[in-house]
Symmetry: C2
Subunit: 123 residues, 2 copies
């Protein structure tokens, strides 16, 4: 009775993963796991992201409850982004995934090279 002969992937799960594992989310979560950050701190920490994409990513992560946006009433106002308890629970799964990626990167690189060779040869 191997119950788990299938990893069922429905649209809700699919959508959820798209929202929390998208291009910039992992980098943002990575930073916020270390310390709370302000907007421009994040920009500096992730130089490739544009301000537009960063804004969108932060909004999305906030909407899904994995990060929190806090307005600190100083003059001028500061904005603190920080990870939520829910957000922290995301780390183990992601770490497992990244471990897999690291571990198998060499194998995959070779697979790609082999594939590309064959392509080049035939097509």
């Amino acid at each position: 009775m191997d119950t788990e002969d299938k990893f069922l992937i429905g649209p809700p799960h699919r959508e959820l993963l798209d929202q929390v594992l998208d291009k910039w989310s992992l980098s943002v979560l990575s930073e916020l796991c270390e310390r709370p950050c302000r907007f421009n701190e994040l920009r500096r920490a992730i130089p490739q992201v544009t301000q537009k994409s960063l804004t969108a990513t932060l909004r999305r992560l906030e909407r899904n409850g994995v990060i929190e946006r806090e307005v600190v009433s100083t003059r001028p106002v500061a904005i603190r982004y920080q990870i939520t308890p829910l957000g922290k629970t995301l780390r183990p799964p992601v770490d497992v995934l990244l471990a897999w990626a690291s571990e198998n990167m060499p194998t995959i690189t070779r697979a790609r090279e082999a594939f590309d060779m064959r392509e080049e040869a035939s097509g």
Copy 2:
């Protein structure tokens, strides 16, 4: 030495995850984990995917070495897609991820509703 105070996510990892966790890959891998399949079997198993996207997904997964394409020389020829050993190693990480999604879906749904309420109220 807490070595792992950060899930570092470089472009190579990012790209890899994009390739194996994209919209249709999980569904395809799910099917091929159960049994080898032919092209149209996969189409029937995943009704929403178009032939174009399915073709692209299969090529990408093949290139990364997680599935294998085999031409069976019958008349007419049949094409068998099957999972590779490398592909099988992808299951545990993905299962962990999906478990996380299932487990936290209610929390996330509530977070979204709360967020949308606030938006509606203010914006």
